[in-house]
Structures are given as C-alpha cells and as structure tokens.
Symmetry: C2
Subunit: 123 residues, 2 copies
DNA sequence: ATATATACATAATTTTCTTATGTATAAATC
DNA sequence: GATTTATACATAAGAAAATTATGTATATAT
C-alpha cells in the first residue's frame, strides 16, 4: 500500500508565468559563472529556485542554440572521458545584451509587483 | 520638417516578459473594480503601468472569452446609447481562482527577483 | 542486471501572443 | 461639413516560446 503526498502549492506553481524569461535566466547565470553547460544550467536553476522552476530540455537546448546564432553566446565543446559537453559563455556583445535584459527584467518585476499588489511596491 | 523622438528605454521594455501574465492581470483588476469592460481594462492597465504594458485587443478579447468559458467570469451586456458594452465580473469560483493566481504570481515575482538579483531579495 | 543520472538533440503539438483586418458609433479637429 | 481620432467589440493568420514525446549514449548507483 502506497500513499503519495504532493505539495502542489510549493512545487511548480504556475510554470506558465515563466514563459518569456528563460533567455534572461540563462544570461544571468552565465554572467555569474563565466561558462556553463546545458544540463548544469537546469540543475542550477532547480537548486536556486528550490524546485519551483524546472527548465525542460525541449526549451533549454533550442534557446541556447538561438542565443549562439545571435552572437550572444560562444560555445566550446569539451571531451569529458568518453562523452562531450558543450560549454557556453557570453560574448562581448552578449555581456552588453545581458545588462540590458536584466534591466528590462527588473522593470518587468517592478511593474508586475505594482500591478498585483501596490502595497508591496518600492515606490 | 518633423522630428520624432522615441524613448525606447522607458516605453515598452520587453513586452515578451509579460507572456503568461495577462489572465492574472485581468483577474486582479476585476477583483478591485467589481465589473469592467474590455476597453476599460486596456486603458486602466496602460495608466497603471505608465504605458509600459499595452494590452492588444487580439490578446484581450480571446482571454476574456476563455475566462468566461471556464466559469471564472460572468458577462453582462449593457446598452450605452446606440452601442453596447460587455461588462465582466468574477464568479464565485473566479474569486477563489483569483486568490490562487495572485499567490502564484507573487511566488513567481519573488523567485525571479531572487534569480536576477539576489541582493534585492526580501528573504 | 537494472534503474537512475548525466548530457546532448529534435519533432510534433500547444499555448499565448502580435499583427492585420473588419465593423460600427461618438467625439474632436480641421 | 468632412475627416480623423477615440471608443468598443471581434476574429483570423502567423510568430514565438514553451510542453511533451522521443531518440541516442555514457556513467553511476542500486
């Protein structure tokens, strides 16, 4: 006999809300950690958000490829034993872009906070 | 001779970030204002966000119709002179749903704030 | 020996938006 | 008076960004 208990309140709130913020999250992590590989990013985000945000591979890898194609990220393939890892890091342009995206994210956060709960506002 | 000046920094930051939050914004406004019509919602959001968020009609009306179909909103059609307006208000179920969605939004905001700038965190 | 974790990738589908288009009345401007 | 802008609804086509499903392969833990 098994009893499963899920705390749906604390885990995986509304994943939908994170739509549109994945790229900014990736850029912020790379700004802090110099170079990271995809799987590492998913684990780091899971840890930092206490499991609230789980980046799926189907979202992550296309996002990394796109950022690379846009010249925001550089990639370096390293052999680790018998397998490979693709390490990503910010280009010079990517660093500028990150600063800009983080500013936009802060504006967004402030605006949403103001909208949903004016009393929490910093203004 | 015309000179156009746009301040692209303060107006319309990254509209993409708002993806997924439209329904919650609508619900919050209806919780505060009892009943509102579509156009009124777009104007209210524009004012409250100082022009940072402009809800398009192509996004708004389908969202209202969906919330109504889900039993979250009730609609009442009123004649104003020679035209009509569709006033929306929260159902009983919609009020509960709003409380839940606002809690999810607050969790999202806190998580994103923590991610992009840990020093701003309230924790 | 088997299951789980690590590590990449892509295709099909879904969701949610933008952009474009359409209709119609009211008010403001030229 | 004519024209533009604002008010007020609606939907269709297309784009963007995700989820879900599937695939491959090695390393580690049970």
């Amino acid at each position: 006999m098994y009893i499963f208990v899920f705390n749906t309140q604390s885990v995986m709130a509304n994943q939908k809300l994170y739509k549109g913020s994945l790229q900014t999250i990736i850029l912020k992590l790379l700004a802090e950690n110099n170079k990271m590989y995809g799987y590492e990013i998913t684990q780091k985000v899971k840890t930092l958000t206490h499991g609230k945000l789980n980046i799926t591979e189907g979202a992550l890898y296309p996002a990394l490829h796109k950022l690379e194609a846009e010249g925001i990220l550089d990639v370096e393939v390293l052999n680790i034993g018998n397998r490979f890892r693709k390490y990503y890091k910010l280009t010079e342009h990517g660093t500028k872009e990150t600063i800009s995206r983080l500013a936009e994210m802060q504006t967004f956060i402030n605006t949403m906070q103001q909208l949903v709960n004016p009393s929490f506002s910093l203004e």
